[in-house]
Symmetry: D2
Subunit: 177 residues, 4 copies
């Protein structure tokens, strides 16, 4: 989950947060932004194009839940951060995530890996109706069909297990081929 540098600092200092990351699981949200047709069926999946270190990869929206922040508000904040302020996200009525992604700092414990921390992400599929424009943290946003999103080529460009998360999202929406 590469969004760390862009994360607001909350009310812990950077040093404190780094210390905590080595001692407690940190709560995250993951979002799979989608376009849907009038019958609710997913027609497109939005992926961020991010440059990290010396590679470019595709990523889902991800970010920390802050102290005294509702999950609903964390979802809105991170979607705005990555897709801009006119994306018009449809935050789900139910608080239930479609899956829970447990990112471990040790590879292989779960399908999810984050070298910096133990992060537990509640994952949601969120339809967006408005215009999306990449923020400073993403080079671009690409919209691809569910079939393309499930292809090996696309999934290979994702890191930390987000390919697994994307497949689970497609399965949840009945769109995994």
């Amino acid at each position: 989950m590469a969004e760390l540098p862009s994360e607001p600092s909350g009310w812990l200092s950077k040093n404190e947060l780094e210390h905590v990351r080595e001692h407690l699981p940190v709560l995250y949200v993951n979002v799979v932004p989608v376009r849907v047709d009038s019958a609710g069926q997913v027609t497109e999946v939005g992926l961020l194009l991010r440059a990290d270190d010396n590679s470019i990869h595709r990523a889902l929206i991800a970010g920390r839940v802050l102290y005294h922040e509702r999950i609903r508000d964390a979802l809105i904040r991170h979607i705005e951060k990555d897709l801009g302020s006119v994306a018009l996200p449809r935050i789900p009525a139910s608080p239930n995530p479609f899956t829970v992604a447990e990112y471990f700092p040790t590879a292989g414990v779960t399908p999810f890996f984050d070298s910096r921390q133990h992060a537990v992400a509640l994952a949601y599929v969120v339809p967006v109706d408005g215009d999306c424009e990449p923020s400073q943290n993403a080079l671009d946003i690409v919209w691809i069909t569910p079939e393309e999103a499930a292809s090996e080529e696309v999934l290979a460009d994702m890191t930390g297990g987000q390919d697994t998360l994307l497949r689970r999202a497609l399965a949840h929406c009945g769109m995994l081929p």
Copy 2:
């Protein structure tokens, strides 16, 4: 589920359908229409006011799934039938119902009862954004808060177990007090 008279006949004659209703479970959808705020939280629940026999009661949207009809399309059709054509429903991306209501012709097998048939209803919460106007089958549509919807007074006006269904919908959305 009192919408029977308004149900299209599908491709079975009325006599045939009556015969089938005594021999096979019939597939239905149930819809709890809601208004949500920008964070996705339910602010209002829509209930139909129906006159049946010699009483008036509150009801959810309900109707049969027809032969060769997708559940998504059955949802749209029944929402249009009861809320009009400009309700702008947001059909969920996932096909998963929030609950399954098994209406038995015998009271007490499940919380759901339908004297005419064994009906199995897949139930969905559907946010609607547009204007809603009652069709010929409903006297009116009332929008009430989740707190009101969970009150004994409102629930007592519902029949066949739809009060139970409504409570499950509120619980699913995190809005059952």
Copy 3:
């Protein structure tokens, strides 16, 4: 869904049932039997080996819900039919299926296809603790790891879209690679 010949007739004659199948969606259950470890994690998936016409394929448990039968009881009946009477299935406490599979008699409407009928199947993952032995309808039951179950080789042996259903089940359990 190849279990048709082994299906009990309910209370409709065979001719009547054939007629209905051409006019109404028929309610089914689909079951993915699994073995789990003490932490609940899926370790093995059970697939039936069936001979149909002149080919052999792998299949999930599938069968019709009868008139006046609860879904819970249909699950038990079909699991017993295919895995024997000492499989000790753990029927889920919640009635919510992990997905809904809409089998259409026309290919391409959904990922699911059944030439004989429009069937709507509520699908459940059911852990089984006991001994399983193939019934008269299955040649054998094979238990494979989630990784094997998600392999192209295994999925290619499934028909009617049950490979898609199996992938969705694995995704739901957090076991889709």
Copy 4:
């Protein structure tokens, strides 16, 4: 969520943990232990009897997820802590909680309140098959029917919004009257 004193310290000192609790949401699990019949239907709900300060109340199982601990393992650990080591819990195959309870240190933001911290709890219904005996932290475990569990009398004995959580659990299992 009154289990705080009995919580293992993880790898943060007590002072550090107290500091973190004022700056970050802390990840918890909540468990509703149930007895089920052979068809999976909930027959009894287990509630802990706890003495806090100068009152006695009923409580669900609750506890923190530790650093580098899987949610599945946190569930087992907290169930063992409260129900003993031979409760034989059936941890769900799916990682999806039936709801997410956001406990805020400020009353009224959500239905859940915890004066000590902002805790986000993933909530699961877990059938237990074995013998349960109260640990040192609970005075007793009582098993009551779903109808009793939904009664005002029982719900009034719960604190911090756990009555709401219990109702959501019953609704999820199709057992909320």
